[in-house]
């Protein structure tokens, strides 16, 4: 299926609101959506969600022969797959530009930066080494895939523990998890990729949502393209590992400097969160608590269909403006994405929202005589 086309009015509206200093979901330019990391029962499996964007990551290992040119180093393989689950426009088993883009950026960030100690994965030089394989599956694409995938890769590699190996003379014994405690991967530093959307060569937006990403990389009315996506990879020591720009060329290097400053803070915060979550998970496992992906099942999304989750949050919204609420509810049905969590106000009585609509009568856009709406 082809991607849902971005209409001109959507594009112009988003560009205008961003130029005026607002974002559709009510965030500031440098505010990010809620980041959540959930670990599964196996070591090295996690689901990371930024807002509604969700990525599943699983690390597995096996013993293979090392490369000829690096006989004492283990192997690391990162593989991203986008299935029709992420969004209907993706086809099964088909590599798109987006897949190649994600794969290459993650390779640059985690393999070229040498953040993982590959020499510790060696068992017998030139003969046997551990080969780590990170499989990333995009579960839901609501913008900012690169950041979500990079946090998922980092969290799962840091969480992963490989089986212990002992040598006795000529033979090598690989112990099961029950036999001996598994060994965590050695990470020298924790790099994370942060994504920024650039609008009109001047405005920098962190953690762009799906519609913001699509708008900034599209051409504007006069046929020019002044926007792009900037990806900055940094670790918690404020060292840069990756810099990538998609879209229009930047005229002013000031933007890159601003982005790096902003990325440094965000990366430190993310890495701290990842480390904290891994430690909590470790403690829980030591107490023999069962950890399972079933724990991510909640009742949060039960009412997503009845417009509880507004994707447009205007700044001057008050709880008494019931008419305004109806207008945005109607406009919500045009837009297809959903944004959850941070609501500036709380819709008081959900089950009655639909009844309220019917009782209030016609929406204020359409001029019909009030009698015709009495059902």
């Amino acid at each position: 299926m082809r991607e849902v086309f971005l209409s001109n009015c959507e594009k112009n509206f988003v560009q205008k609101t961003i130029a005026e200093g607002y974002r559709l979901d009510g965030r500031n330019y440098n505010e990010c959506r809620k980041l959540n990391i959930a670990f599964g029962s196996e070591y090295g499996s996690c689901i990371v969600s930024i807002g509604e964007t969700k990525v599943l990551s699983q690390v597995s290992c096996e013993v293979v022969q090392p490369k000829q040119i690096r006989p004492n180093e283990g192997l690391l393989n990162i593989n991203v797959e986008i299935s029709p689950m992420a969004a209907p426009q993706f086809e099964a088993n088909r590599q798109t530009d987006l897949t190649v883009y994600l794969n290459r950026l993650l390779e640059k960030c985690y393999k070229d930066s040498k953040c993982i100690d590959l020499e510790s994965l060696c068992i017998v030089v030139e003969e046997k080494v551990w080969s780590l394989r990170v499989d990333l599956k995009i579960l839901n694409h609501d913008g900012n895939l690169i950041e979500c995938s990079s946090i998922a890769t980092l969290a799962s590699i840091a969480h992963f523990k490989r089986p212990d190996v002992t040598r006795s003379g000529e033979s090598i014994v690989i112990h099961t998890l029950a036999d001996m405690d598994p060994i965590p991967t050695v990470l020298y530093h924790y790099p994370v990729c942060v994504n920024f959307a650039i609008f009109k060569n001047n405005i920098l937006i962190s953690d762009p949502s799906y519609i913001e990403e699509t708008v900034c990389t599209s051409t504007s009315e006069d046929g020019t393209n002044t926007g792009g996506l900037l990806v900055v990879g940094m670790n918690q020591y404020k060292e840069m590992c990756l810099l990538d720009l998609t879209g229009a060329a930047i005229y002013n290097s000031n933007i890159v400097h601003r982005a790096i400053q902003s990325a440094a803070e965000r990366c430190k915060m993310v890495v701290d969160l990842v480390k904290k979550d891994i430690m909590t998970d470790d403690n829980l496992r030591q107490k023999r608590t069962k950890i399972n992906f079933a724990d991510i099942i909640t009742t949060d999304h039960a009412q997503s269909l009845c417009a509880k989750d507004l994707c447009i949050r205007l700044k001057n919204f008050t709880i008494n403006d019931i008419e305004m609420e109806e207008e945005t509810d109607v406009s919500k049905s045009i837009d297809t994405d959903d944004n959850t969590a941070l609501s500036k106000y709380d819709v008081p009585s959900l089950p009655q929202t639909v009844e309220l609509k019917a009782k209030k009568g016609a929406s204020t856009w359409i001029d019909i005589s009030s009698e015709s709406d009495e059902d």
Partner: protein, 213 residues
């Protein structure tokens, strides 16, 4: 009437915002996520003039795709094709993607149940709902309904059945191992009786959010 106890089931619908319908289901420790998109446009070569084409994609958690995944896709596709009212949507395609999150036994039955919930959530017209259950024959020849992971791996035979919600007739059956005809009949009867619990669970989950719409 025997009192059947199935593994504790937890489910959340609308889990994915970009899919038309999605469900994440956990049966015991096994967790599966399913997403449905459709009815939508597909290539002319894949179109059928009289009904919708169902495409199933099963993704295991790690490693490259394998033949075992294709086998599961086949079973799920045949089961869901009978359930969906494909004649309502000719020349379109419905894509069902299933992602395995945790596997502690009963993966295929969990996947079928999750797929059914996702289809209900997506609003695609269906003839009936489907529920999958499994039984296993342990070393002593005893039948165990909904075996645990340890029991299933040590079993002599594993029988899985899928029933429909209207007449409780058998939609799909797949078995592994050796067993007698009498064992088969008994397993079929037990699973059929226990399927009531699964359908009651579906009704529970759907009524949670249906009364709000």
């Amino acid at each position: 009437m025997q009192d059947f106890k199935l593994k504790p089931m937890k489910c959340e619908l609308n889990y994915l915002s970009k899919s038309d319908g999605s469900a994440i289901l956990s049966q015991g420790d096994t967790v599966v996520l399913a997403s449905v998109n459709g009815p939508m446009d597909i290539k002319t070569v894949n179109q059928s003039i009289e009904k919708a084409t169902l495409e199933v994609l099963f993704c295991s958690k790690e490693g490259k795709p394998s033949v075992a995944d294709r086998y599961k896709e086949n079973i799920i596709r045949h089961t869901c094709e009978t359930a969906i009212l494909g004649c309502l949507y000719p020349r379109t395609g419905i894509t069902l993607t299933i992602q395995e999150l945790e596997n502690y036994g009963g993966l295929l039955t969990c996947a079928v149940n999750c797929a059914c919930l996702a289809l209900i959530n997506s609003g695609v017209g269906m003839r009936h709902a489907v529920a999958a259950l499994s039984c296993c024959v342990d070393g002593a020849g005893e039948l165990v309904l909904e075996p645990t992971h340890a029991q299933a791996t040590a079993a002599r035979a594993r029988l899985h059945f899928v029933f429909d919600s209207r007449e409780k007739s058998l939609v799909t059956g797949f078995t592994e191992g050796t067993f007698s005809e009498g064992t088969y009949e008994e397993a079929l009867a037990r699973c059929r009786a226990a399927s009531d619990l699964v359908f009651a669970f579906y009704r529970d989950i759907v009524s949670n959010y249906c009364h709000v719409i």
